[in-house]
Amino acid sequence: MTASEIWNIVMMQGFAGLSLFSVLLLMGLGLAIIFGQMGVINMAHGEFMTIGAYTIFLASTLTETYAPGLMPYYFLIAIGIAFVLAFAVGWMAEWALIRHLYRRPLDTLLATWGLSLGMQQIFRSTFGAKEVSPTLPEWLMGSWSPAEGLDIPINGLFVLALTVLVAGGVFVMLYRSRWGLRVRATVANRTMANAIGINTKKTDRMTFAIGCGIAGVAGAAFTTIGSTGPTSGSLYIVDAFLVVTFGGAASLFGTVASAFGIAQAQSITEFFLTGSMAKVITLLAIITILMIRPQGLFALKVRR
């Protein structure tokens, strides 16, 4: 094997890790807001991602039937719609369910699990039990080969770019906007935030809905990688929670770092072992580290 071949393998392996990193981070970002900032265990988070995925599927089918000429552009618009839809459902879920349960986190867990079951059945009744995949626009297919023997899939690049965009957006919103200031104030000290005139209830609802919207975007992005079924969301949920917990619940930077660490660890072990063993070893490592350092990698220093 020549040096350039080894280099290519390292590059492609590195990109596989990056690709997994963007998937994990995209899953974790919405949850980092909902669970990390608000402390709400949203077991239906995966289903909000599925809402986004089905939105893309619906948009692709509609565009294909009624406006085939728009096929190259629909995807970007549909991602926006996915955000809006998931946002709206999240808003309603907060209003109907979550807001009654802020003081009972364990019960929130059960209630949102119920919500996820209901949503799964709605998906199944609407779209059927079979997995579906949207027709992707041409420009998302194929791969980019900057050098001989080096292939980097475009959909992976697209998800990576989207992840960077969403992560940047969340960062700006949380740390540079009035809303973010209100969210962080509410997280740090709810009573005090109330006292200085922040409407924490409104903030909560908005925060939850935005987290769900981001989940919708994540689901939309995942349609470029895999197909969507009614129960797809439940596959992601534990991974998403682990990413957020491992990074340190209230720290956005921690979420990014933990997604990166988990993804690299898993893709490197996957190179040497079978997929399932790689997963087992990665998960065990996370669990062990969490047992030693329960607050996660980057804990926010708050007086409790």
């Binding site: 119920g114 079951l117 059945q121 409407n199 399932s276 063993m277």
Partner: protein, 409 residues
Amino acid sequence: MTKLRHWLGTSDIAGIVILALVILVVMPLTADIFRLNLIGKYLTYAFVAVGLVMLWGYGGILSLGQGVFFGLGGYCMAMFLKLEASDPESTKIQSTPGIPDFMDWNQITQLPLWWEPFRHLPFAIFALLFVPTLLAFIVGFAMFKRRVGGVYFAIITQAVALVLTVLIIGQQGYTGGVNGMTDLKTMLGWDVRTDSAKYILYYANAILLFGAIFLCRWIQKSKLGTLLLAMRDKEDRVRFSGYDVANFKVFVFCLAAMLCGIGGAMFALQVGFMSPSFVGIVPSIEMVIFAAVGGRNSLVGAVYGTLLVNFGKTYFSESFPQLWLFLMAALFIGVVMAFPNGFAGLFEDFVKPWLLGKREKKPETPAVPPVAPVTMQDDDVSKTVTTRTVDSGDAVSAPTTGRMGPATA
């Protein structure tokens, strides 16, 4: 009898006796052997539910990985039964006779060393009791000593469930993979698939279950039980009183795990197979709902809850498969929002006062659950700035301030 009464209480005795009548007399008389075997299967889940009452209802610790312990117990038993079922005589068509069929399919030619002890029933029984307990001890000790609890504990237990499922499915040659261990036939030469064996196993299972209920009831009535309750409600106060809270949590987690292990073993015996579909996250959360529907504080209620949810599941998934998940969703949400203490709570609040009222004085009016009205009211009030400090999300404890709770006379 008086002593029994002392630590059980009259209504407890009545509840357990009625449950015993239902399980030991009514069910076997009315159901045919197929249905009875099905009920026996449900009753193995009841071990998990009873364990959850202790862990979650009494200890306030929610584990979403009880399926792990159920599965470990089940697999320990299944390994013993599988080895007995794969003697060289009945597996002579395999390329390596004398090892379980799934090993042969996966090109394993020798029984792995850690399978060897499972040739002996005493070891299998020892393992099914102590493997789950040991795992619970390790997880519990590591987490509770660091004062990790609540949602983080739930997430970690969930991750453990995921790890075990992936491990079992991935290591097909050693565990039977997705299909699990099937074709379990005899225990020490006794055919467990005959009707008479099914009757015996049903009763053995029921008696073990009552043993578990009595044990848990005894713990609840003891000082330990009181401490568990105190810990659930005000953990810090118990800690400041000089108790090491973590030890009690580890204990109750281990107890629940051991009960799950027994349930799993009885499951493997009665149903004749064990598979990873009882280990993962989904079954583990379903087991929580068994306890929640019956009443998270009531041992007897948890058994009824298990039976009810499972009957519902069997009936609906046969007749109206598309409705079942909606019903399950409604159960989860309803149990949390409307009646957090499950059927046992409804019984305590409505039926019992009515029953007692017939014989004694006027029943007390059942306390209105304060949660829903208060939060609704909160929302309206939150528009004015002055009340914000009170409504800050203190929804449940707000009424005690007497400022905006429902009119408490």
